[in-house]
Subunit: 434 residues, 2 copies
């Protein structure tokens, strides 16, 4: 009998973990990803704020899996899955048939039906996004320094971040540190500490998935860093000149989006029920009902714990799901003998800035320096590759002791940056109430 | 009396050295550069071949100069110099007047009148160039792995490098090492060691500025690495499918240009005599004749040593010129009292690959392991910034011991890479003689 063919789509936390746990399985394994690298997304905001280089948090997928001789990796975009014929279609026309399929394509931003906002308010999911945000942030200070009058310069020093989940909070805190620490003494005309950062959240609290006592601490930390936190308000319009937050207009050159997710549109081609965010509604063994040889994991799946609680869209959940699915495939467990997936909540943590973080492990709530130290250790621990661990530790010593950011590079040619600049309207200063 | 105003255009080796040596001068200093970073160009080929990250060899100009409170840095493109009115014009419309002007705008590639080749055969001068070449090289292996038949795959595994000066030789050697060492065990369908690399040079030898005994050694080293060296032949046509070298056509997906330089077109706006390569013909005190307050240094200048020999276009010459000019400006030495610029030849060296380099210091000729070791030490020594030195040493340990390249990232989205791919004609295999 021929060894079963397994296809994994996406080499994020879930997909890559599944692939690695199939290292000794008696299967033929194909991993398909749009990019050539596995990305450690929890530190992506540090690439976006010039603290880390892209190479510090990414490694080639084929390099990670090169010792698994039964594993092939191809860089291609999957454009459709034919669940009846058990076939995966790619953008290069090639089709692959599978016995087991693991879908781990992740999610992209959701602009809640306002996709035209994306151009003015880019989000942060890929390395390309991070480099784009990094160049916008750095170029903004450069353009401010070139301005003749300070009022004109101020528009380049106004930043709005929409959405106060972990990414939004981390980005806001890091941009505040860029302005107050990294740019210290770097400019002559402008004063980077005049940078204004708004963080806008629709819920009553920042980091709304945490318990209220930690949310309040996180908000206080943000405000101490100089971030203006606006909760309980919705963004009603995004234009190149700024953001309309209900009846207030905030003029800003830099607008970043961290507000919502939609699962990969690829999932629609499965023809199985999806939730509002485009996630596949999987059963307790992570299959779309009726398809026991197809698994959907990570941000692409909406799964319920045996307790009835939704499995959260976090890295640890994806890792556990990847391992769970690999075991089923490795042992070729028939559907009726599979035990339901149980999510083990290891707790969650978010950082606001240097020496500032919050952590929640069961009933234990932590904040401040020790929570931050734990955050550092855990992120280094999970980072793939010894070289990357050393590089990040080394960069963090410079960052957290001296405020140094090692990747302050604008690579895009000046002509491109300038064409963006001229499209800006001459608005500046403080928010104006209508 | 007001302090004199000094403008430095370009923060490469010459411009930045000049700026640093004016740290204690009683002047107002303005540094203008198109980019926000100083680039250590001698290691740029290692960024292009994924061994180093861009941030390892680049640092923000304003960060380097931030302690000089009389120094302003702006990121802008200079579009013209009015030498009569002593005014510098930038692309943002702002004009700056100067008492002393130091022109150090560097050079770009020259395609010898065939500018249409640039699209198919990009060169290597900026970080953007290096990232572009890196993505092309890495994506080529990815595309080869996706091919159905090996003949089709081979076209992605054929590389042509035009010009065997230091950049061409380093690039050819490094791509050979990528194919033979880094990609080891990474692919299933293709065999990366089947990669073919041609290095084409119009002169009788590779590295033609070195003495023939060293050239022969360098060529032998290249051939041992698997590079096919073609000397004494000229490229007559470059098309997306390959390169015409006199009466032989070499089919290749990857063509890189390292053959010629033209000084910055900005120099034409000075209205002073230029040489064939667009360089300003400066006098013995590095001024265009008749303009003692304007200095031209680095790759932008054609200068003669008091001995009558041309000053070479190398980093050490630019450094010495920058220091020389800073001294004249600092002490405000009047033209008639200035001593002529003397170039001190510290020797030159080029590397071919791991444990392979050549060095020439006066009558001393070295090659092999010790020349390579010297090359490593000297490049680390000259690299700006402690953090970058450590990062490069650390990367080199991985590179030279394990063949590891830490920046194997393709950041461009797959759609863009694919649109390039479809424009390729289905040619492959070995060169065909007409």
């Amino acid at each position: 009998m021929e060894r079963p063919s397994v296809i994994i789509i996406g080499a994020g936390f879930g997909g890559l973990t599944c692939a690695k746990h199939l290292a000794r399985a008696n299967v033929r394994l194909l991993v398909i990803d749009k990019t050539n690298h596995h990305l450690f997304q929890p530190l992506l905001y540090q690439v976006a704020t010039a603290a880390l280089a892209p190479a510090d948090i990414a490694r080639p997928i084929r390099e990670i899996l090169c010792k698994q001789s039964h594993t092939r990796v191809i860089m291609a975009e999957v454009v459709g899955v034919d669940i009846a014929k058990k076939i995966v279609r790619t953008h290069i026309g090639e089709e692959f048939s599978y016995d087991y399929l693991v879908m781990a394509p992740g999610a992209r931003h959701s602009y809640f039906g306002n996709d035209q906002w994306e151009k003015f308010a880019p989000g942060l999911k890929t390395l390309e996004d991070a480099i784009n945000i990094r160049e916008r942030v750095l170029a903004s200070f450069e353009m401010a320094e070139r301005c003749h009058d300070l009022l004109e310069a101020q528009k380049y020093l106004n930043f709005v971040i929409i959405g106060a989940g972990p990414t939004g909070v981390e980005l806001a805190g890091a941009i505040a540190e860029v302005a107050h620490q990294t740019m210290f003494r770097n400019f002559r005309r402008i004063d980077p500490t005049k940078t204004k950062i708004w963080l806008i959240e629709g819920s009553p609290y920042v980091l709304p998935t945490y318990s209220p006592d930690l949310c309040i601490k996180a908000q206080r930390d943000l405000e101490e860093l100089g971030v203006r936190v606006i909760c309980n308000k919705r963004v009603t319009e995004v234009v190149p000149e700024g953001v309309q937050v209900e009846n207030t207009f905030i003029p800003a050159h830099n607008i970043f989006w961290a507000a919502g997710n939609n699962a990969s549109p690829l999932l629609k081609t499965l023809g199985v029920p999806l939730d509002r965010c485009g996630r596949v509604l999987v059963n307790e063994t992570l299959n779309p009902p009726g398809h026991p040889n197809v698994f959907v994991i990570g941000d692409a799946a909406f799964a319920l714990d045996p307790g009835g609680k939704p499995v959260p869209g976090v890295a640890t959940a994806a890792l556990q799901e990847g391992r769970y699915v690999a075991k089923i495939i490795d042992k070729q467990i028939p559907p009726e003998q599979r035990k339901p997936f149980k999510y083990f909540d290891k707790g969650s943590m978010a950082t606001i800035g240097k020496f500032r973080a919050i952590a929640q492990v069961g009933r234990l709530h932590m904040s401040g320096f020790f929570a931050w130290l734990a955050w550092c250790f855990i992120h280094i621990m999970y980072l793939v590759g010894f070289r990357n661990k050393v590089a990040v530790v080394f960069s963090w010593v410079g960052l957290y002791i001296f405020g140094r950011r090692n990747a302050r590079l604008i690579v895009r040619p000046i002509e491109e940056l300038s064409s963006e600049e001229t499209s800006l309207a001459p608005t500046a200063g403080d928010p104006v109430s209508k």
